[in-house]
């Protein structure tokens, strides 16, 4: 059976060139970059070069790049680190209702510590209105954190505009760009952001390594106290191989971005068009155009997400429902609720996230098997039965 991986937003396979770039740092150049002798200097150099490369690709200065263990740590650090550093200025944080749990749960934690958090609503497409941000700002606001692009529905936020408002008001602005970096062009200066989180495994890099961009001049408290690594701001022996891998992956992603995105956008729009024409009672979630080139998110009325995934799995198609890290939890997607879907529909979404290796043939195979799977589940569904009765079908 063919296997079709349609879940690139959950994680990606490492690019063979990334693995190759990392290998020398496992056994040969293994020294601790903090050591002064020759064998470690090679590692220090690899670290510096990776930092330079990433900085350049993001339009940042190398001194603004801090390595972390992934998107979650970057988000936690950004939010807690700013909250603490600016606590004398105020205790109010602005975020959105559709953030990743790494941001939402961190904000909820801060609420338990006496901070006040405003969770901005989004429109039906999942977009934050910059005017809402402006209106939410108080004298006590110390941080705005709004994600660059959403992991479930792919909607891209008006980051530049929000950043402009934050800059004008003198408020620190963080963006969780874990789903955006490596997928759409990003320049930290143009985006007007003060902090930006990214994670290697979302663009064919390694898992367990990420970056927090911290603009020069922004005060932040450490989250991981320890050695003097990362200019004294983040302790821990550096994951050199992982960092080299992340830098390589980002380089490759950006090198091929234009071409890949063209291809994926076409495939995305083809799937959207075909699914909505071949199947009834289906809705595309997220913005029709301000969305990641690789993201498709549908809700099929009357059916539940997990069942759908399992049947697709049986056909060799790997997709997801909600974000990967909340499967196993029973909550409906907070993102789908926030864009106005009722509870029962917020359980029934299908997320397809493409990679550059996906083909039209794969899409066609998916389009071929999907209608009968959906029908099969609907035939089993009491909601569908009730609906049909109502409609006298």
């Amino acid at each position: 059976m063919q296997k079709i991986y349609f879940d690139h937003a959950a994680t990606t396979a490492m690019h063979p060139q990334v693995v190759e770039a990392m290998l020398p740092y496992f056994t040969e150049n293994f020294g601790n970059p903090s050591s002064i002798y020759e064998i470690a200097r090679k590692n220090k150099q690899a670290l510096d070069e990776s930092r330079d490369k990433i900085a350049k690709l993001l339009g940042a200065d190398p001194k603004e790049i801090y390595f972390t263990s992934g998107g979650t740590e970057s988000d936690n650090w950004a939010i807690k680190g700013i909250a603490e550093a600016y606590k004398n200025k105020g205790n109010h944080i602005i975020t959105s209702a559709i953030e990743h749990h790494a941001v939402l749960h961190t904000c909820e934690y801060l609420e338990s510590q006496g901070y006040e958090v405003t969770y901005l609503p989004v429109n039906e497409y999942g977009q934050v209105d910059p005017q809402d941000v402006l209106k939410a700002i108080k004298d006590t606001t110390i941080l705005i954190t709004i994600m660059y692009a959403n992991n479930e529905i792919g909607t891209i936020q008006p980051i530049e505009e929000i950043g402009k408002i934050a800059r004008e008001k003198g408020i620190v602005f963080h963006t969780d760009a874990v789903q955006a970096v490596g997928h759409i062009p990003i320049d930290v200066k143009k985006a007007n952001v003060d902090l930006l989180s990214l994670s290697g495994h979302k663009f064919h890099g390694p898992k367990g390594v990420g970056v927090l961009y911290i603009r020069k001049g922004v005060k932040i408290k450490p989250l991981l106290h320890g050695g003097a690594q990362e200019r004294g701001r983040r302790g821990g022996t550096e994951n050199v191989a992982g960092i080299v891998g992340l830098a390589k992956a980002l380089e490759l992603a950006l090198e091929n971005m234009e071409e890949n995105n063209k291809k994926m956008t076409e495939l995305r729009d083809y799937i959207i068009k075909e699914v909505t024409s071949r199947i009834d009672h289906v809705k595309l979630n997220g913005h029709p155009t301000d969305r990641l080139p690789n993201n498709i998110n549908f809700t099929f009325d009357f059916i539940e997400g997990e069942s759908l995934l399992l049947l697709l799995d049986m056909k060799g198609i790997y997709a997801s429902s909600g974000s990967a890290c909340t499967s196993g939890s029973l909550d409906p997607s907070h993102v789908l609720l926030a864009i106005g879907l009722p509870h029962e529909k917020a359980h029934g979404s299908l997320r397809i996230t493409l990679g550059d290796e996906n083909t039209k043939e794969e899409a066609d195979y998916f389009l071929e098997v999907l209608p009968s799977i959906v029908q099969r589940l609907r035939d089993m569904s009491p909601l569908y039965e009730a609906y049909k009765k109502e409609q006298n079908l």
Binding site: I36, K63, K216, G217
Partner: protein
């Protein structure tokens, strides 16, 4: 970490040693901070005929002592006064930021030796100030961001 020049001066330090009956000696630094520099001068007719040093300290401390002595050897006192920590650093093709203070130490050791010479001979050297007690040369301003 270190430039080739630094490593060269560390590996092959010039002018290591002592001078018997020197015209001036200066000792600066503090073993507590991990560095002590001692510079000996032999001065005749306003010219630094000979110079020697001893240093307890890191690679940069040794290299800056060595370079500082090289830069003043055979020079007039007035020329020696121009050998600042910046001049020493430049001559070494730079130092890592945490090691800048080592070059400050070299400048101070040199000036302390000149001061000793001036005191002994009752002369005044333009621009020379007495060595500070227990100078905290580690207190380099951080780029605080």
């Amino acid at each position: 970490m270190y430039s080739e020049k630094v490593m060269d001066h560390f590996m092959n330090p010039r002018n290591v040693g002592e001078i018997e009956n020197p015209s001036g000696v200066g000792t600066v630094g503090n073993a507590k901070c991990g560095d002590i520099m001692k510079i000996y001068l032999d001065i005749e007719d306003n010219i630094i005929k000979d110079v020697k040093f001893k240093t307890f300290g890191c690679g940069a401390a040794v290299a800056t002592s060595s370079m500082a002595t090289e830069l003043v050897k055979g020079k007039t006192i007035q020329e020696a006064m121009k050998v600042t920590n910046k001049a020493v650093m430049e001559a070494l093709d730079g130092l890592p930021p945490v090691k800048v203070h080592c070059s400050v130490l070299a400048e101070q050791a040199l000036q302390a030796a000149l001061w000793d010479y001036a005191q002994k001979n009752g002369i005044e050297i333009e621009g020379l100030t007495p060595p500070k007690e227990d100078d905290d040369h580690h207190d380099i301003p951080e780029d605080n961001e």
